[in-house]
Symmetry: C2
Subunit: 424 residues, 2 copies
């Protein structure tokens, strides 16, 4: 199996949020898993590489899901008539508690990984549960899938029912070390420290996680400023903090040198919180569908872009019900229009090229040089077949991509490459 | 081919917006195309009827699309970065002008009708274009499909480009009569008078359509209070009217005895306009996805329900991009949450049973006794197979329906019956 080859087709990718490059009927080259560029005619130096001819199909960078809860995939779409805190108590926590059972965990995670593998997602950053064994099962399945993922065993030692709470900060930290030992040999599914959110983690646990982060250099993921009830609770729990982001920052778990961090949602992050995120290089995982389903609101993505924050998209399974990052692109555009119309006319709606950028290069940046067909980028690609969407008139490549984003399902994903490896 | 039979399976249907009836593993009986009821065990008097055993599948009333533009299906999802009036000028009108070409019309409408036939829609109320021949082509294809539809040749004699404008009120009315002659023999695809909207129709045309309505007793469809720019324009065009609805009412084309009427959107209809609609029995076609895509806003569906208006759902192809009424149910719930969160906390979000009611019985009422498994109702049914959505734990019928609404595509529609006729 060689990781050097050439794909031919209609190639679309983003240089910047506004600048989508469209290379009709051209060649994109992968050398040892790394992109060597896009060319209108194949340069002589690549003449010996195998060419996979996808003429008439679309070739785009792989899509990156910056935030999803793997254990919640099983109950996606159920119990959606609740807001965040009630939904956690009545739906999510009891459901996550099932993953104490290794058989259930394997069965449920197999369904999740099968669907993720077939989806348009090439890389994902995932929450597991607090269970060490189940999280290792998930990572093993992901490792075998060929997808590239960061996965977190969740830390949570307060404010949840007995069935889903670690008994102390020390127990949580010990379990975390056990989990890190267990996933040491994985190369494509790697760990990320995962304090669930401030309300779930005692001060001692946060401090222990900070020490562990400094020791290991691992990245961190959590939730930020998603729902107004949650934000009010955090301000009760952390009376000394100036805000939700500050509460993480006081524990040293809010980005900065050597601590790459993703914060999901940021629906209600104000200017000060956003400035801190920019300063600390914290990634926003924008999860439009989840923010609708849980009545959280609509995040100011236009402000994130204007202010130069790092932003990617997340499905947030199961606040969001759809795994598809194509859907997340469309949702991003759609909710931004409602925010503009109903909430703040100063922040223009997000365009398709911008939302596409967020799903590719925006989230890809968390993984390094990922999400574009620029020379030196890891080679993640989707070959999209839009033959399922017949049209009575001719379409440009951008129009065809637009139709796939809005209309297609996973059947449109004909082939998928992740870091040069062909998964399908 | 008999129109009398029994279906067995997990049967769900609405008595009222709040009261969903769930009959697990029961029998629903169709006699001569009419529902004879749902029974836990099959009564002796139906013992001679053939039983189609759909055990393990869901059986629901057919879904009704109260508002879609058939000619716009071809370009759905394109040009979505515009608001209504600009979108009409730059996208819709040039696209609809293509239907002057009979070959194009047949090709495009064949794609539309094929997809509609396979979809979860059993009945639809559609706009065509202003072209007589193309509209008859559409109706012929629909007639053959077995679906039950109302279709309108569009009337428009002002404020559009030459390529898509009738040359006078008299010419528009003459073409309308020619069209009505042409579709006289259709039984399942029947006409509905279709002034495009106030800005497209001269006073003389509206008066002529009122006379034609009184003469024929045909129903009427149009657009109302969709977008703020449109509403401002209508108030300029009709300075004597007290509002957009009043402008229709002054021409006698706003419901009332003998004039069944659908008005699409009603996003910005105020209390007075809604009261008039209730008084006149005007149906609201709520089109949540279109109202998002064109940045129109979110209609106050909770107010419609509280005030006792007649409401159904519409895909509004191609303001909406999805033909699926399952998607329209989910969209209705989702946008109602954003309206509640961002615009008006006094109007609670729409629940799944309520949105399901709107898509079945709510819109079905426009066609008479349609949209429920009550004795005496026309027998429209879908058999839904949710096997494509495996789950690691047991689900109730309502949970399974919820998953189909949020997650499934048309592949879930295993069988479809319309007024007793099996289409698939």
């Amino acid at each position: 199996m060689t990781n050097s080859f050439v794909l031919k087709g209609d190639i679309l990718w983003s240089r910047t949020p506004q600048d989508m490059t469209i290379c009709e009927n051209q060649y994109v080259v992968c050398e040892d898993g790394v992109c060597a560029g896009v060319f209108p005619t194949l340069p002589e130096r690549f003449a010996s590489l195998p060419v996979h001819d996808y003429t008439g199909k679309l070739i785009i960078p792989g899509l990156v899901d910056l935030h999803a809860h793997a254990p919640q995939y099983a109950f996606r779409s159920l119990g959606m008539d609740l807001e965040l805190l009630d939904w956690l108590d009545t739906q999510t926590f009891p459901q996550e508690a099932r993953y104490a059972d290794p058989d259930y965990a394997r069965r449920a995670y197999t369904l999740f990984v099968d669907d993720l593998r077939r989806s348009s997602t090439t890389r994902a950053v995932l929450f597991g549960t607090l269970h060490v064994d189940a999280t290792l099962t998930l990572m093993g399945l992901l490792e075998d899938s060929g997808l590239i993922t960061r996965v977190g065993k969740v830390n949570m030692d307060r404010n949840s029912p007995d069935c889903l709470r670690e008994e102390s900060a020390a127990a949580s930290l010990a379990a975390t070390r056990q989990w890190l030992d267990g996933c040491r040999d994985f190369t494509r599914s790697r760990p990320i420290l995962t304090p669930r959110f401030i309300p779930s983690c005692s001060d001692a646990l946060m401090e222990g996680l900070r020490d562990l982060q400094r020791e290991t250099g691992l990245p961190v993921q959590s939730h930020l400023s998603e729902n107004q009830g949650e934000i009010a609770w955090v301000s009760e729990l952390c009376p000394d903090s100036t805000g939700y982001g500050d509460a993480y920052d006081r524990f040293g778990l809010f980005g900065g040198d050597g601590c790459p961090t993703i914060m999901a949602h940021c629906v209600w992050s104000d200017e000060a919180e956003r400035a801190r995120m920019k300063q600390n290089g914290v990634f926003v995982a924008h999860c439009p569908q989840s923010n609708v389903n849980l009545s959280s609101g609509i995040a100011p993505v236009r402000a994130f872009l204007n202010e130069g924050l790092s932003v990617g998209l997340g499905s947030d399974i199961a606040g969001g019900v759809h795994l598809s990052m194509l859907r997340a692109i469309a949702d991003t555009i759609q909710v931004s229009k409602l925010r503009w119309r109903l909430q703040d006319a100063s922040l223009a709606p997000i365009t398709l090229p911008e939302a596409f950028y967020l799903a590719t290069r925006g989230g890809g940046a968390f993984f390094g040089k990922v999400g574009a067909f620029e020379s030196g980028f890891e080679f993640d690609a989707l070959v999209l077949d839009d033959a399922m969407l017949p049209c009575p008139f001719d379409l440009s490549p951008l129009e065809r991509l637009t139709r796939v984003v809005y209309l297609a399902d996973d059947r449109a994903v004909a082939h998928k490459y992740v870091s040069g490896l062909k998964l399908m």
